[in-house]
């Protein structure tokens, strides 16, 4: 007995060390200069905690531990090696795995007790399992949308919010019934199933453009479900790790919502796809000016200050490496090239930065929206590649616009604006962009990758 409790203390010290290393891990992430040390700190902390746990005297069936660990590593390694363009769906999938894990442990904890659980414990378990379950299915739907197995557009139907809220109320009602009588084991699996259904209902209506917020919220839920699990199991290391993950996801969700000028409830229950159509009438008659790659190259060559605004379209076209060639060609001519990054450009927070970093563009060339907007009037050319709503000046001026009030990158203040776009077809959000009809705007119609490649050829051709 002495040895067992002595060992238990060593285990606790290993967990405390892990918590300290986790905090350092996040602290080191504050700057790209030392961020990789943060990963190392986290890895050491996690390894310490896992190895210490394997020495826990309660373990009797190592087969049931080691085989799943090997399977987990076998799944995790390929998921860690995916292409950078697949990072949003990978992230959604990892939220699903994290939530699945938390839900499974909570469910096991309900069935494991030799003594029946108290009402208080029942409440904790029920809440934890509900959040874990809805995050599991919700994240799977998000991953499916990002992988385009499921349609990215919002899927909406009449009375949707009522159906969703009924499911949520049902899950919570069953939880209350279980707290009143924890021994009513029949209700527990039903509660789990209703929570799983609610997760599907919650994310299905949300469109691709809202994914940065949704993925952050799911991150937050996954973290808080782990923290709640820490309450259930009385495990401080889970409480801390869950609180860190949960607060991170929460902060990112707030940043994403602010960047879209929308509230949480509006993102979750607003179904962005419905608001369009009002302004759809008169737009077709307005003229746009277009240009060829040769003309675009000539304009860029004459510039001294160029701001490139990337969006999801750049990721879809896999154009980031061509954009890098353009950056090189222009920089070689002494032109100052910077990238303006909107917080919600792409499908998850920081998506554009990762793609451009992958293409070897130095990170000090990537400038946040708030920092670059003051410089936009001095920009000779603003080149928009696959971004739409985040450059829409109607967000500043047109109170009738569905995106009115959303902060945008002020490309319309640049001397010349060039927009690479497949066609005049508005995106699935269906919001017309007055930027395209300005006198200073040139539309460059075509695939982003091919068009940028064409400009690069022209720039290289003369020299």
């Amino acid at each position: 007995m002495m040895t067992a409790s002595g060992l238990q203390q060593y285990l606790d010290f290993a967990y405390i060390a892990a918590v300290v290393l986790f905090i350092f891990s996040l602290k080191l992430l504050s700057s790209p200069v030392h961020a990789r040390w943060g990963v190392l700190a986290g890895e050491i902390g996690a390894a310490l905690a896992v190895v210490a746990t394997l020495f826990n005297p309660e373990l009797v069936a190592y087969k049931w531990v080691l085989i799943p660990l090997i399977i987990g590593a076998g799944v995790g390694i390929p998921l860690g090696m995916v292409q950078m363009t697949a990072v949003p769906q990978r992230t959604a999938l990892s939220h699903a795995f994290g939530a699945l894990s938390a839900a499974m442990i909570g469910i096991a904890e309900y069935y494991v007790g030799t003594a029946p659980v108290t009402r208080f414990e029942m409440g904790e378990i029920a809440l934890e399992v509900i959040i874990g379950s809805l995050t599991f299915t919700g994240s799977l739907i998000a991953a499916g949308k990002l992988q385009e197995i499921l349609p990215q557009r919002p899927i909406v139907y009449r009375g949707q919010n009522i159906v969703s809220l009924t499911a949520l109320a049902g899950a919570l009602g069953l939880a209350v019934a279980l707290v009143v009588n924890p021994a009513n084991t029949m209700l527990f699996p039903i509660m789990v199933i209703v929570a799983l259904i609610f997760g599907v209902l919650l994310v299905t209506p949300i469109g691709g453009a809202d994914m940065p917020t949704v993925i952050s919220l799911l991150n937050s839920y996954a973290g808080f479900s782990a923290a709640l699990l820490g309450f259930v199991l009385n495990s401080k290391v889970l409480v801390v790790a869950g609180a860190l993950d949960g607060s991170s996801g929460f902060i990112l969700s707030v940043i994403m919502c602010k960047a879209m000028n929308r509230s949480f409830t509006n993102v979750m229950f607003g179904a962005f796809g419905q608001v369009q159509a009002s302004a759809a009438g008169a737009k077709e008659e307005r003229v746009v000016r277009s240009a060829t790659p040769e003309e675009a190259a000539a304009i860029l060559e004459a510039a001294s200050n160029v701001v490139i605004v990337p969006g999801y379209g750049m990721a879809v076209a896999q154009a980031q490496h061509k954009v890098r060639e353009l950056y090189d060609a222009l920089t070689k001519k002494g032109i100052n090239v910077r990238f303006a990054i909107h917080p919600v450009a792409g499908r998850m927070p920081g998506h554009m930065n990762v793609l451009l970093a992958e293409a070897d563009i130095p990170y000090d060339r990537l400038v946040e929206m708030d920092d670059i907007n003051g410089d936009m009037p001095q920009a000779d050319v603003a080149l928009v590649i696959g971004a739409n709503d985040v450059t829409n000046p109607a967000a500043r001026s047109d109170q009738a616009s569905p995106i009115y009030g959303m902060p945008i990158i002020d490309v319309d203040k640049a001397h010349t604006v060039m927009v690479i776009k497949r066609s005049m077809n508005p995106g699935f959000a269906g919001i017309d962009n007055p930027l395209y009809y300005l006198d200073r705007t040139l539309m460059l119609f075509g695939d982003a990758k091919q068009f940028v490649g064409g400009i690069v050829r022209e720039l290289g051709g003369g020299h």
């Binding site: 986790f22 996040l26 660990l69 995790g76 950078m84 990892s94 801390v240 940043i255 000090d364």
Partner: protein
């Protein structure tokens, strides 16, 4: 209300504040690696899963625990791996001293 709950609540609130202060300082440049890193740290639930699976109390709880071990450990391995791969790509344009 159980005493454990209160002490856990203290830890949760303090860790939440620490998290808030730390995350606020992370450059938006690194928001994607931030999400994959916190995901890997969150995968520490694997330690609870290991105990549930390894105690082998009933078949049901052992199977649930084993699924949880595999799911969370894949997050831990994959999360650290991809975070490091992403961070390796972020290079400064200024020449190194």
């Amino acid at each position: 209300m159980p005493a454990d709950f209160i002490s856990n609540l203290y830890v949760f609130i303090l860790a939440g504040f620490v998290g808030f202060e730390l995350i606020k300082r992370v450059s938006p440049l690194l928001h994607t690696p931030l999400m994959s890193l916190t995901n890997a740290l969150d995968a520490i639930v694997v330690v609870a899963a290991i105990i549930i699976a390894g105690r082998h109390e009933t078949h049901l709880t052992t199977v649930l625990g084993a699924i949880a071990v595999a799911a969370s450990f894949s997050n831990m391995v994959g999360g650290f791996l991809i975070t490091d791969r992403m961070l390796r790509m972020f290079k400064s344009g200024r020449p190194k001293q």
